[in-house]
């Protein structure tokens, strides 16, 4: 594996939390390499450190020690503004609770990623329409989140995650609030995006979704126990 192929490289990453006076070691000497275009499933029981790993890999949280090389750049000590720019340019987020703005329509939610950019409104709208078409939700573009089912809301959130053509999509329990049929649709959609757009995808889950991934990482007690 050449250095050029590596999208995310976590080196000796440690993270501790203090909760109710006790120190919890969320990540213990984690080393991980994720290649460009890989579909990675990170799974493990609740509290095993998988969400913390996702947070530090995306720059949402800083590790206590160690390095995170994201697309060739060490983000472990980057400024907040630099991290914001990095997320806007290279990362798309998918959340368990969808996190759509209830007062905005589907297309406005998707567009919101590009509001702070210099792009013209027409261009933003065109991109949002393309993203909604990619997730097969164009017919719902003027609907508000409350008017959509859970699966549709998550597809809308995926459209929001891909509108800026990110290098990486980070999904935190993307099917956690969905029924089995919607889970299948959402995971299938992420797989399609991974194949067609060559986007690196990291899915954190407590369920067994290993059948969708190129690589499955099992975690327990803040450590990687198995990579398959």
């Amino acid at each position: 594996m050449s250095e050029k192929d590596i999208m995310i490289d976590a080196i000796d990453v440690n993270k501790e939390y203090r909760r109710a006076g006790a120190i919890i070691r969320a990540l213990a000497d984690v080393n991980l390499k994720i290649r460009s275009g890989e579909f990675v499933i990170i799974q493990g029981p609740t509290g095993c450190g998988k969400s913390t790993l996702l947070n530090v890999l995306s720059g949402l949280d800083l590790p206590d020690s160690g390095r995170i090389i994201f697309d060739g750049e060490n983000i472990a000590r980057a400024t907040e503004d630099r991290l914001s720019r990095l997320r806007r340019q290279k990362i798309g987020f998918v959340f368990q609770d969808f996190n759509l703005v209830n007062t905005l329509t589907a297309i406005e939610n998707v567009e919101s990623v590009l509001w702070p950019t210099v792009l013209r409104q027409k261009e933003i709208e065109n991109r949002a329409i393309a993203a909604l078409r990619d997730v097969d939700l164009l017919d719902r573009k003027d609907h508000f989140p409350v008017q959509m089912s859970g699966g549709e809301q998550q597809r809308c959130a995926i459209a929001r995650a891909i509108i800026h053509r990110p290098r990486v999509i980070l999904a935190d329990e993307p099917s956690g609030n969905l029924d089995p049929q919607s889970e299948k649709e959402v995971m299938g959609l992420l797989k399609k995006i991974n194949k067609e757009m060559e986007t690196t995808i990291l899915v954190v889950t407590h369920r067994d979704l290993s059948s969708y991934g190129d690589k499955t990482i099992n975690m327990d007690n803040g450590k990687i126990t198995k990579i398959k």
Partner: protein
């Protein structure tokens, strides 16, 4: 971003309507008492009322900023996750506050115009120009200007609160 702030304001119907009505009332009362103070009709009392109303507008702006940031922490956290900087979010929040005041100003002007029109219509035969003007335009413009100036304090408060919103909140499950 300002246009998006207006969009977000208008979609937040309840909060927007309540604060616009309060601002409208405050702008009207403040400019009315400034007008009285300038004319010397109400003595020192008029200026005391003006000071009270400015204080109220300061409190109101800070309350509005607090509501917009605190009640929507999850939205701002999500926006931070998708690449918004603190300044981007502050632009949205301050735009929402500023727009509300501006709408209040236009409603007051509109009401004063209609008042003048109705008085003129009713008293066609005995038209006295002084009767037509309830409050001069200058006090209304000055009041609105000062109200907007006072909002700088609210913007500072909003910025301090926006800084404290950690993007990681967006990843927490509802109720967690």
């Amino acid at each position: 971003m300002w246009r998006k702030a207006i969009l977000l304001s208008l979609r937040e119907k309840r909060v927007f309507v309540v604060f616009t009505l309060i601002y409208t009332t405050l702008i009207f009362l403040t400019s009315f008492f400034i007008d009285l103070g300038i004319d010397g009709n109400f003595g020192e009392m008029a200026w005391n009322f003006v000071l009270i109303f400015f204080g109220t507008s300061l409190f109101l702006s800070m309350l509005y900023a607090w509501i917009l940031v605190s009640r929507k922490r999850r939205i701002w956290a999500t926006f931070k996750c998708i690449g918004y900087t603190n300044k981007n979010i502050l632009s949205l929040v301050s735009g929402m506050i500023f727009f509300t005041t501006l709408v209040g100003f236009f409603i007051v002007i509109e009401v004063l115009f209609h008042y003048a029109a109705i008085i003129a219509y009713v008293n066609q035969t005995d038209l006295n120009i002084a009767l037509l003007i309830l409050v001069d335009l200058v006090p209304v413009v000055v009041t609105s200007g000062i109200f907007i100036g006072v909002q700088i304090v609210a913007f500072i408060l909003a910025y301090r609160k926006v800084l404290k919103v950690r993007p990681i909140i967006a990843l927490k499950k509802v109720g967690e």
